[in-house]
Subunit: 515 residues, 2 copies
């Protein structure tokens, strides 16, 4: 077997941004579409999204939500009912103004002036306002509450600077929208869905996250509280991987979501909304990828095990026997389960040199690659590579050679081990890059300027300033290219002074550079 | 138990169109959104679509396709490369012209003139042109072929007259796009996917269809051949439920999808595309619905079995015991399988009068409804209703009273029986409404004018005129409000004269009114 290391051309340590683009291309996940700001998600990238959708959809249904589907287009007037909301999105809205094209007389088509819409339609950037309309129709009494809805949809926010998966003009997401009787229940639900996101990120994507509340300046337009899960990428920067919003009665007032409560009085619903998107896939790449390409956690891998017979491509008896040997393994593995689901195993008999195909699957990050050559077959074994432990100390691929029957038995546990291993690696790396004990803004500035490489996140204490005082803090951080990520749930109580104001601190926050 | 018949207010025989709207509303499937031509698909309607997606997605993957995702927006210039294609869609395209809103100085937001797009973007009505762009990048050699892709997406075709599920400006569908080495393989694939649609319609939706080729005048814009599956609704009209197109090299020429063939020469790919949409749900309603509401075939029912304890709503011991009794049944049923999948069973303990809830589930069309009252529990039985055989001869709901343990055992087979029963009913009804033996256009006119009610489809023989001669036939049929549906695969050979031209007939076609 070839021991040549088919690494990427760019290493993480040399140029993380270029490495990111190369992984996407080398793993054949996505590419630019030629349409400004929009990408084509290719089968391997889409397969990962299908897995995330499947698992998160189950979690969302398990918490009592029903899926539904609302229109892509939202009339502009809907947005205008909630002032903060429309202000937040007006600068990045794709606007449909015509519903027909017509020849311009010179052989080109142009929007037909006779088919101009009376009111422009907005391609949804988010759907609170149109869900709100329906909730106002559907909620009459406290018996109709809570109303717990979710949709899987595409949304558009016109972005000037795009990056695949992380920031694209069109992206795919789920957006949950719920209506409740009272503030307490709505706030509790906001946090329940944040916990669903934490579990999805950590258990399904093996991506450790910090759950907490965003500061006032980072709230969703129209929200009373915004909570997030924040993940640390391997370059130490933060990725906001999901948000959950308590919207108070802001959208209920705008849309008239009223109900008769148990006392017989009319009341406004308290609503929530929450979403995660294809951005998660960017998080998976930057959490688990290495200098050989992507590493996909088994739980979300479209194929968990790839079987590669080392065919000579001559369609002769030897090749046929090898395929038959691999098919036995394939069948044995398909009957096994890991993490409560049937194994996803593929037998790759496509044309091509076996070692080239191995490296294709390494770059795609398939968790286990099993190569089978003639000698393996003679010895009744297989040659097995674990993507999370690809290299032996001698600098060669670390092939294991279990007996074929043993491999079939051992693989489910091995996949679960890879899943925990990827999570543990990411968590160790994250924890090693969180710094505590910085007590003044000067120290913070020194810390970030002293480091040759970007040193990750810093946990500081603050007095939770609001309004203009908060704006000043945001500016001070901006000068250091830093942002407040969130106020983590379950952090130790504050015991010092605010690094911004010097006043007694009330809580701990994370500051970091971010995507 | 209440024996009051909670029928709809409109019967199929009285006003089929109004009945259709009432079923959608009474089964809580969808409603108008307030956005012109767009609907809100509510959880029960969406649940049916999720089932159709799941089953059809499996069939599409089983035939070797991979899912992916292409942009919502397509530059106008992409369309202009294929003249017939853009002509076919220009009149119904939603056009994005701006990417930002700005205040007009009078408190209103308007599209920002500074943010006008240089080239308008079309909200995709279909994606041949943008898949074509990518195929041109991805296909280099015969080794890259066949390329078999599919996406699940929303599309927009601006419709002036809309009807829920059947014709909406935005709709949801899957669109498959494939590229092949040569005409023979591409044509074979076009028919393979037509067969996938036939199987999905007949086996999953229990909706009998006629598969065949559309006449020249009904071809997809840019296609060389268009094939369809056609279903007969209970009013005798036809619903085109899915189409599969052989595109020849039209789109390959437009996008430059070329490859080096096995002889080393450059060749153009032959491509196909095929789609089915949320329109299928309209087909399910009009195939299986009755005067009590929807009847959902078990294979696509979000819940196949609904267990309704007849609670007194007092939260007392009696209610608790009843719930416990029902939970035992729930658990027993969840462990069972039908049609190769776990049963989908729900225990409905929501507030409300049991008989009112029963009728809600009847209108939604749950295949099996199990009511459990105190007396049932005492006797160790349950009261079971089959939605496909709701009424006994005495005009009362036809409750069966199997022992609880027997019910759990019997239900999988009962669900399979309901599935076949619905298919058989629909097929019998369709076959009874196909008329043969009409030999002249005059006879055809007499046939349709003589019938008090619309009599369904007529199979006629024709000489397959083309061009202007075909246009004349289309006009003649239009005068009778008829259209050619398709040339059925596997029909008997022609043995008479063309009813339009009097020339020797070459094939048989179906003519019908259509949705």
């Amino acid at each position: 077997m070839s021991n040549i290391r088919h690494a990427l051309t760019v290493k993480r340590a040399d140029d993380f941004a270029a490495w990111y683009q190369e992984v996407i291309s080398a793993a054949d996940m996505a590419e630019e579409s030629g349409v400004r700001g929009c990408m084509v998600i290719k089968p391997w990238g889409w397969g990962i999204w299908e897995r995330i959708q499947h698992l998160l959809d189950g979690r969302i249904k398990d918490t009592g939500h029903e899926n539904c589907y609302f229109p892509l287009f939202i009339p502009l007037s809907n947005f205008e009912r909630e002032a903060e909301h429309v202000d937040g999105f007006a600068k990045e809205m794709a606007v449909v103004t015509h519903h027909r094209l017509i020849g311009d007389g010179a052989g080109k088509l142009v929007p037909d002036p006779e088919a101009k819409l009376e009111e422009p339609l907005i391609v949804r950037p988010t759907s609170e306002t149109i869900f709100g309309d329906a909730m106002a129709r559907w909620v009459q009494s406290w018996r109709d509450l809570p109303l717990k809805l979710n949709q899987w949809a595409n949304v558009v926010r016109w972005e000037m600077r795009t990056r695949m998966f992380l920031r694209t003009s069109e992206f795919l997401w789920q957006e949950g929208h719920t209506a409740h009787d009272g503030e307490a229940e709505a706030k509790e639900h906001t946090l329940r869905m944040l916990e669903v996101y934490r579990a999805c990120a950590e258990e399904d994507l093996a991506m450790p996250v910090i759950a907490g509340e965003k500061p006032e300046n980072e709230r969703f337009p129209g929200a009373v509280e915004t909570w997030s899960i924040e993940a640390m990428m391997q370059d130490g920067k933060a990725l906001q991987a999901g948000t959950s919003h308590y919207l108070g009665t802001n959208f209920s007032e705008a849309a008239g979501i009223k109900f008769q409560n148990q006392d017989g009085d009319q009341a406004l619903c308290h609503t929530t909304s929450w979403g995660v998107s294809t951005r998660m896939i960017g998080g998976v790449i930057m959490t688990h990828g290495d200098d050989d390409g992507l590493r996909v956690p088994p739980t979300i891998a479209p194929w968990q095990v790839v079987i590669l017979p080392m065919l000579r491509g001559k369609d002769d008896d030897a090749d046929a026997q090898l395929v038959a040997y691999c098919e036995e393994l394939h069948e044995a593995l398909k009957g096994q389960s890991a993490c409560g689901e049937r194994l996803r195993v593929t037998l790759d008999t496509k044309h091509g040199k076996a070692s080239a195909k191995r490296w294709d699957w390494v770059r795609k990050g398939a968790p286990i690659i099993i190569e089978v050559g003639g000698r393996d077959m003679e010895n009744g074994v297989v040659s097995l590579l674990r993507r999370d432990a690809l290299w032996a100390d001698n600098g060669k691929p670390d092939f294991h050679s279990p007996a074929k029957a043993d491999a079939a038995q051992a693989i489910p546990a091995m996949l679960e081990e890879i899943q925990s291993n990827l999570f543990a690696q990411a968590k160790d790396q994250r924890d090693a890059n969180i710094t505590r004990g910085i007590e003044t803004l000067d120290q913070l500035g020194e810390f970030y300027s002293a480091e040759a490489q970007y040193p990750g996140w810093v946990e500081v204490q603050w007095s939770k300033p609001t309004g203009a005082a908060l704006e000043q803090v945001v500016e001070q951080l901006k000068a250091l290219k830093l942002t407040i990520r969130n106020v983590p749930i379950g952090a130790a109580a504050a015991d010092g002074s605010c690094i911004f104001t010097g006043e007694p601190a009330v809580e701990r926050i994370y500051v970091a550079r971010a995507y």
